[in-house]
């Protein structure tokens, strides 16, 4: 019966389900964490930035 209701686009549920509230809460937490990480890294978080700070050009200059 649950299976049938799950696949029925017209099954009505009036209140916002708990799983949606959980998803929203988790999304807010993840968004805050991402912002904190970006702030700590100065917004420069692409490949090669973690170790060197300024990307591929600095890699080449390391060898020079």
């Amino acid at each position: 019966m649950d299976e049938q209701r799950r696949d029925d686009p017209d099954a009505v549920e009036h209140a916002m389900p708990r799983w949606v509230k959980g998803f929203i809460a988790a999304g807010v937490i993840v968004a805050v964490l991402v912002v904190v990480v970006l702030v700590l890294l100065g917004g420069d978080h692409g490949p090669g930035r973690h170790e060197l700070g300024s990307g591929p050009s600095s890699v080449a200059s390391l060898r020079a």
């Binding site: 209701r5 686009p9 949606v20 490949p47 890699v59």
Partner: protein, 175 residues
């Protein structure tokens, strides 16, 4: 949408969505090889392959998944804004696609460094976070799409009420 067209759209949507997950897994394997750094040639090859996989497999599959997902939602009774699971899937897919497209130029820059004979590609570090988190997001979307958890938005409830036939009170007959 006729049943035949709906089935075709669903087939294409499933193929590109699952293909997107597979391509990200392949990218993650290459990212692990690049992060290992024990062999310079492997690191060079991995970054070049990551760029090619990203631009020619992951980005097209992501865009196709987004477009076919919207087509499927709009073209069926599920709708785009009627059910919470559809909205959450749409938002997560949009975020994943935008982050991917914004991130790829950085991968191209790293691949260009890996191609340069005088550069040390081992110093490029790793790119494990983006494909790792991206894979988790894609698995969450896939799970939502299969389970279709209950929950209709206010908009969905209004549309549902509007589509219900009006029930007449039984008329008295003189029979």
């Amino acid at each position: 949408m006729s049943p035949g067209v709906r089935k075709l759209a669903l087939t294409v949507h499933l193929m590109v969505s699952v293909g997107w997950i597979g391509a990200v897994v392949a990218y993650l394997v290459l990212a692990v090889a690049a992060a290992d750094g024990s062999d310079v040639q492997t690191v060079r090859a991995a970054w070049i392959a990551m760029e090619l996989t990203g631009w020619y497999a992951i980005v097209p599959l992501a865009v196709a998944s987004l477009v076919t997902g919207v087509v499927m939602a709009v073209g069926t009774r599920w709708g785009l804004f009627r059910h919470y699971w559809v909205i959450i899937s749409l938002v997560l897919t949009l975020v994943a696609t935008v982050v991917l497209v914004v991130h790829m130029p950085d991968v191209s820059a790293a691949a260009a460094t890996a191609r340069a004979p005088d550069a040390d590609p081992v110093a490029l570090g790793s790119d494990l976070a983006h494909p790792g988190v991206g894979l988790i997001v894609l698995l969450v979307i896939q799970t939502l799409n299969v389970y279709k958890p209950r929950g209709m938005t206010r908009h969905g409830q209004r549309m549902h009420a509007r589509s219900q036939p009006v029930v007449d009170t039984p008329r008295r007959t003189d029979r």
